[in-house]
Amino acid sequence: MKRFWHAREFSTVAILVAEVLFFTWYLWPEAGRDHSFVTKENFLLIFKYSSIYGIAAIGAAIVIISGGVDLSPGAVIALTTVVTGYCFVQLGWPLWASASAGIAVGALAGLVSAWLIVRVGLPAFIATLGVMGIWRGTAFIVTQARFFDLSAQLPANWHVVGVSIDWLGPIVMIGLAGVFQILTTQYQWGRGVFAVGGNETAALFSGIPVNRIKTSAYVLSGLLAAVSGVVLAIVQGQGKADLATGYELDIIASAVVGGASLAGGRGSVAGAVLGALIFGVLRNALVQIPGATFYDRLIVGVVVIVIVVMDQLLLRRQAKL
């Protein structure tokens, strides 16, 4: 228990809970209507859409902890939906094969970034910025600005072992978050990621395989972006080049709101997923507030800042405990 109160993620959880409670109160229905925010259906919705950011944010967090940054996830997500769609619709491959192809491409994309950063020695920001253009562009060329419609070939309201396909995203997100939370906190590889992010020279001198660790971080980032792309393609039923445009910043923001520091060496996978949920709840709630649409951007901006400030205050608090 004590460990939880002291966990880095505690403050993020606290903020998420506070947010949900606030909107539960704010969106309390007038008499005669039932609550439109706290319903199983709506929470599934929040999870379903947050998972698109959340799964990729796991990879973003790993990269950021290792002292880098990845601007390509948005583009990789789009490319993956396109590749999956192409294999499934155009080539008529089975879904699992198409999905694997998509994920493979994502991992490859990550490998390219890693190569540019580790071998060629480019700054992560500029390397992944270039790569982002390359993958987005490739996706457009493959689709010729059209799209692949998987939904036609996929069962209408698809249930796997009695569970709606809508749960795919949330389940994958939570599963992966668990796995990588453990890998980053309890295994040597994760310790290495933190060490490299904390002081690269020291890591090198300590005999930590710096290059291999950095490579693994970017490959994972590409891979996880691809997973969220595949989930997107299956759940939403389309492969399209302009999907997830600009999501890279939302994804990084999720990781940062979840405690990752772009200075490197600090952050948490679980926190990143919680960060994605914080934004998911916000997007969902704003739709329920008449006239909010023009205020969306403003509010999200304010919330990002407020959360990070609150987070810092809570951390100081903790430090005192």
Binding site: E30, D34, L232, Q238, D242, T293, D296, R297
Partner: protein, 298 residues
């Protein structure tokens, strides 16, 4: 079962545009709010994605379904993408009408507007008419947006009937009206004797500056959208043809339809063709007068 129970409490209708950053949709909101006031007991919630992001639009649509609004009117960014979701809404007892851009395969109860493909064809034909069937044409579009793609297809298919017409290039402005202006300027340098520009979106006609480099004597200009300042450009002779839609009607008609449906009255024909306004030098004055009354709230 749709719309069985009579409406006592205020009805909450959702009006979902393709994107907020496309100016014409603002007028749909104006029309909808006005109609809501006329009918009374109706609240219109206008909410859309900031940019043409179909994923965010779907999230918004699903969210409205989850909060069980009394009706949804949506301009569909990507028909196949939303069909199943629209059907879910209907199944959940929420009437859905589409406007401006349809989802024909879905169970939506009605559609108000014109088919993008058809309006694209009209642009092509108008261009051919202006060029007397021969000359070069350059297109301006923004890759990724389906409605624009369908207008583009329509226009290109229409032009295919004219062997004398050659399409020199199709420019992707990437949803950036500044790039659009830049492309027009650079394109004019590159193709000095260009016959006509066809813009399947309104970007170039929302400012007088974008068309400055174009010499009307040499190069004709055809663009979508007729809201100010587009008609002034037409009067100034910078543009020859503008294609307008029933921007205010998008909102008012949708609200009217939803209200009737909730009260148990389905439209006889689900497809309600709004028709397009083909605005040229001849009818521009009349059109402006009509616009004034529309915006003024007649």
């Amino acid at each position: 079962e749709v719309g069985k129970e009579p409406a006592k409490r205020t009805l909450r209708f959702a009006l979902i545009p393709k994107a907020l950053d496309i100016p014409v949709f603002g007028y749909a909101n104006v029309g909808a709010q006005r109609k809501a006031r006329q009918i009374g007991g109706v609240e219109v919630i206008y909410h859309g994605p900031e940019r043409a992001d179909e994923l965010k639009q779907k999230e918004i649509l699903e969210s409205f379904i989850a909060q069980k609004v009394d009706g949804i009117a949506i301009s569909v960014l990507n028909a196949d993408f939303l069909t199943s979701t629209i059907d879910r809404a209907i199944a959940a007892g929420i009437p859905v009408v589409t406007w401006d851009s349809d989802a024909p395969k879905s169970k939506r109860i009605a559609f108000y507007g014109v088919d993008d493909y058809k309006s694209g064809q009209i642009m092509g034909e108008e261009a051919a008419r202006l060029l007397n069937g021969k000359g070069t044409i350059a297109f301006l579009t923004s890759a990724g947006a389906n409605n624009l793609q369908r207008r583009l297809d329509g226009a290109k298919d229409a032009l295919a009937k004219f062997p004398g017409i050659k399409i020199v290039d199709t420019f992707d402005i990437q949803e950036d009206s500044v790039k659009c202006a830049q492309f027009i300027a650079t394109g004019t340098n590159r193709y000095p004797n260009l016959g006509a520009w066809i813009s399947v979106g309104g970007w170039p006609v929302f400012t007088a500056n974008a068309l400055t480099p174009v010499d009307p004597k040499k190069t004709k200009f055809i663009s979508f959208d007729t809201n100010p300042p587009a008609p002034d450009l037409l009067k100034a002779g910078k543009v020859q043809v503008l294609l307008g839609q029933k921007y205010f009607g998008w909102g008012s008609e949708s609200v009217r339809l939803l209200h009737e449906i909730v009260n148990g009255k389905r439209p006889a024909n689900p497809i309600i063709d709004s028709g397009v306004d083909v605005v040229t030098a001849d009818n521009v004055e009349a059109y402006l007068k009509m616009w004034k009354t529309m915006e003024g709230g007649g």
